[in-house]
């Protein structure tokens, strides 16, 4: 029993340090952002990265695995206060690190090339991560840090667990990180990026406004709404789960629009 508890605890730790959007999701966000970047921003980004945005978008996930860089695990998430406001100043919090990286980019003339490159890579990844519902924690709301619930029917692009069954354990993390994006990993990031570009003619300009703190508060509102349906141990009918794809896609699209707007502003 003790061994099982230790195993469960270890699994929970792994789950909590999981990727935000899976790598494919990050690539799709980067692809869609690229679509809305100015020529000038694209040229500067390319010169700094010496690569393209799509490839770079998952760099921060590889960094965390390197010796001495485990503290960057915290960068992938942010914590809102109990009122849903982003007031944190804690080191290694996602929004704090994002602000630092943006500041470096704005002051790039006085910074080393390597720091500018690392900061740009960080911005590209974190704008995505901080739009993933399972990466927004709210003080006093333990459920935001991840839990299992019961669901119906799974289907993944990898073909694992493809059959339907009445109920099974599902994870809050997996729901937002890979359940929906995973279905599209059979395609190119560009194809998926175009598919989530749902607000180009209506709300894009509205979504682009604000600062990273406003953005994470905005995602926090979606977190609170989603937790009205998903709670530890709850049995969630498949239609309720499927309806979350709209929320998931909207978050991804917002991330892409905001990333493009931010980079267009930095490199104007």
């Amino acid at each position: 029993m003790k061994k099982i508890s230790i195993l469960a605890f270890a699994l929970a730790l792994i789950a909590n340090s999981a990727l935000a959007f899976n790598n494919f999701g990050h690539q799709a966000i980067a692809s869609l952002a690229d679509k809305y970047m100015t020529d000038n921003a694209k040229a500067e980004v390319k010169a700094i990265l010496k690569s393209d945005m799509i490839r770079t978008s998952t760099w921060l996930n590889t960094l965390r695995k390197k010796p001495g860089l485990a503290h960057t695990n915290g960068w992938h998430t942010t914590t809102l206060d109990a009122n849903g406001k982003s007031t944190t100043t804690a080191a290694n919090d996602g929004v704090v690190e994002l602000e630092k990286a943006i500041a470096v980019l704005r002051d790039r003339a006085n910074q080393s090339d390597s720091l500018v490159q690392a900061s740009l890579r960080t911005v590209i990844h974190l704008v995505g991560d901080l739009h993933c519902i399972s990466h927004i924690y709210i003080e006093g709301n333990e459920a935001t840090k991840g839990f299992n619930y019961k669901s119906w029917n799974e289907l993944t692009a990898e073909g694992k667990g493809f059959y339907c069954s009445k109920t099974f354990d599902a994870s809050w993390y997996r729901l937002w990180e890979s359940r929906f994006a995973g279905r599209y990993s059979f395609f190119t990031p560009q194809y998926y990026g175009d598919d989530i570009d749902l607000f180009a003619n209506e709300k894009k300009a509205e979504y682009e406004k604000g600062t990273p703190r406003f953005w994470v508060e905005n995602v926090g509102e979606d977190v609170v709404r989603a937790l009205e349906t998903f709670q530890p141990g709850a049995v969630v009918p498949v239609q309720m789960t499927e309806r979350q794809e709209t929320v998931h896609n909207r978050c991804m699209a917002k991330a892409a629009y905001r990333l493009a707007a931010l980079l267009n502003d930095i490199f104007k």
Binding site: N153, T156, A157, G159, Y163, C164, F187, D194, D195, P237
Partner: protein, 265 residues
């Protein structure tokens, strides 16, 4: 005893669920992706208008939603059943519980501009059903030969794990080409000429179902009892791939033809 009973219930549940899955995500994505490339500009524009997404996005919608209360009936619309006289007869003789029947019904109800009299949400649901059902009825495990054929396909082992014939065909794109992505499949399978495509799309869903019934008869002979997939001969693998090629391409072309017909001016 209770444990044994629970185990039996679980196995039956798995069998039932697997029997209704048809193509996995990959197969549906491939056929919908091929279809998208063969839509007329009018049909493409209308599909985008009603669905707000591309065709592959909804290609497995019917699988995801089949367990929700309002859509339980659609669980019976994933296969098409032909008897030995090659008549489409539906699940246990109920002709409405048949993918070909439902494709024909929806096509008829929406064609000649009649979709304009439907609510946007009904048009969207009908499109999602068509995208899935046209794909499903071309899956060798969902073009069903009724019992009077006396056919019994063999299971196959994949790396030592027993996989039913049904399940194998559902997931055959992954088994055959695990490293391929959508573009690679479409490049390999979307190979028919416009003249051939016209011929492939001739007729209606019933005719397509009967053709599928004929064309997949040969698949029962592809491997013997106890065969291991990884040890199949080149010729056997070629047979499987040719069937995949044909069934997925035909499904894509016929889906495009269906949507083009519905949204023709």
């Amino acid at each position: 005893m209770k444990t044994l009973r629970n185990l039996i219930v679980l196995l039956v549940a798995l069998a039932v669920s697997q029997s209704a899955m048809a193509w996995s995500l990959w197969g549906h994505h491939i056929s919908a992706y091929i279809a998208e490339k063969h839509l007329t500009p009018e049909a493409k524009e209308k599909c985008e208008h009603y669905l707000k997404h591309n065709l592959p996005h909804y290609s497995s919608w019917q699988d995801y939603w089949r367990h929700s209360d309002p859509f339980k009936e659609i669980s019976y619309w994933h296969s098409s059943y032909v008897n030995k006289e090659f008549d489409v007869i539906g699940y246990k003789g109920d002709k409405t519980r048949d993918a070909a029947y439902q494709v024909a019904r929806i096509t008829k109800e929406m064609s000649k501009g009649k979709y304009k009299n439907m609510s946007d949400s009904l048009v969207a649901v009908n499109l999602k059903l068509l995208i899935h059902m046209v794909g499903d009825m071309h899956c060798p495990s969902h073009a069903v030969h009724t019992k009077d054929f006396g056919l019994r396909g063999h299971s196959i082992y994949v790396k030592g794990k027993k996989v039913s014939r049904h399940s194998f065909w559902d997931r055959s794109p992954q088994y055959m080409h695990p490293k391929w992505k959508a573009d690679r499949f479409v490049k390999a399978y979307d190979t028919y000429t416009p003249k051939e495509i016209k011929k492939i799309c001739k007729g209606d869903a019933y005719k397509w179902s009967v053709q599928n019934g004929h064309s997949i008869l040969k698949t029962y002979e592809y491997w013997d009892k106890g065969a291991e997939f990884t040890k199949l001969s080149k010729e056997q693998r070629k047979q499987i791939d040719e069937t995949l090629h044909e069934q997925l391409a035909f499904a894509g072309y016929r889906l495009a033809a269906t949507l083009n017909k519905i949204f023709s001016k």
